[in-house]
Subunit: 228 residues, 2 copies
DNA sequence: CAGTGTCCTAATGTTAACATTAAGACAATC
DNA sequence: GATTGTCTTAATGTTAACATTAGGACACTG
């Protein structure tokens, strides 16, 4: 790294990104539940922006998989079916496997430190929603530490859907989710620090499988084959 | 499936998709080489459309990774560095592994038939560009046969970049690429038909490795670790 | 002469008005 | 009575004008 890599790139963003952030947060807080319609005129009125940036913002959310757009039928918040959850589970597994291998191979110690920090933050979270945020943030850090731009983008394409899935299903078993999750992540960190690829891959796999099983209990999603 | 699943959904598309298609083709034909600027006014003038659809079209191409947009700096055709090519190689490997496992597990025989058809089409292609199109089409068919929506979308996010890579590097060794590629794909088809996951995975891996090695000969990209 | 500040220009970002479309209600028809 | 055709309406798709910005040329200053 050169000189001062502490300073953030100070990138200037357009209104579209701002709009996308606001709508995304509104979806996560439940203001727009799954299946709800996102009308351009309504959103532009509330946010005091024109329809142009709103349109672009909705396309951004579409790229993140949070929203589905159809010709002349507008945008609606996605509803995650059992098949969708299985897809998220398997694809996330493939991406995370690659990420873990990259982290074990090439991640710097400072990357692992910041990764450990996100894991430590989970223990100071009592609010379920905050816990989910920390969970996602940890896996974000894993993909960031992998140093693989396109891999991180592929994760970005499903991370919001995973986030939404966790939020909508967390009430199924709050204690089951909140219970062992922080400790599990600590184990993941130590496995990555050891640089033992096989051990880390196995731990990440059981971690994903645990969350998947707990949050799909009672539904028929757990019966689908998962490829690891 | 119900009644006649032969009819295509007959979905109506907006101008933005049309614009994206035209620009994408122009990039592949070399009209806009890597690094070229894509000015909105110029494009809207040539295509006789307003700037709105052009903007959306450029965002579509950005999602496909063919174009990079920056705040108030417009869109430019990407230039693939050695690191970029390695990223594409590794991510494609992870995605294709998952796809192959799905195909072996759940693909219907008709899916495999249409997959074989795309492989057969390669032998009737003498033009290198046509061969590249067939190559991409074959792997499209693999992802389609996997029956995994989000996996196919993840492939869509890099397939155009892979396409561009093949086009820009194919002149490095035309005979090396055109030579064994059709036969290799036939082997891939038979491996999938056998439903032997491990054998198919191995064949796909060596197939990717061959193309990667041939087209990066002379550069320093081949020395990077590839995770399989 | 290096560095800074100011202007200009050509592009993108944004807006509001206009055109087109999809979905539902309802009447007409077989 | 089920189907088809037409109309209405409320939304999105599209356009063109306006506002803002990044980059470069050039003069200014230490």
């Amino acid at each position: 790294m050169s000189e001062q890599s502490m300073v953030s790139p100070a990138r200037r963003r357009g209104l579209a990104d701002e709009v996308a952030d606001r709508i995304r947060e509104a979806i996560f807080t439940g203001a727009y539940p799954p299946g709800a319609q996102l009308r351009e005129v309504e959103l532009s009125g509330v946010m005091d922006v024109s329809r142009g940036p709103v349109r672009e913002g909705l396309r951004i959310l579409e790229r993140e998989g949070l929203v589905r757009c159809a010709w002349h039928r507008g945008a609606t918040v996605i509803t995650l079916s059992a098949a969708d959850v299985t897809e998220l589970h398997t694809l996330r597994g493939a991406l995370e496997d690659l990420a873990v291998r990259h982290v074990v191979d090439r991640a710097s110690d400072s990357d692992l430190d910041s990764l450990a920090k996100t894991a430590a933050a989970m223990e100071r979270a009592d609010d379920p929603h905050e816990m989910v945020r920390c969970d996602i943030a940890f896996h974000d850090a894993v993909f960031a530490a992998a140093g693989h731009q396109r891999l991180a983008e592929a994760w970005d394409a499903i991370r919001c859907q995973v986030h939404l899935f966790l939020l909508t299903r967390i009430n199924v078993s709050v204690e089951g989710y909140l219970g062992g999750i922080p400790r599990e992540h600590q184990e993941l960190v130590t496995a990555l620090r050891t640089r033992d690829a096989d051990a880390a891959l196995a731990l990440f796999a059981v971690h994903r499988h645990n969350a998947f099983d707990i949050l799909t209990a009672g539904t028929d999603e757990a019966s689908a084959p998962t490829h690891r």
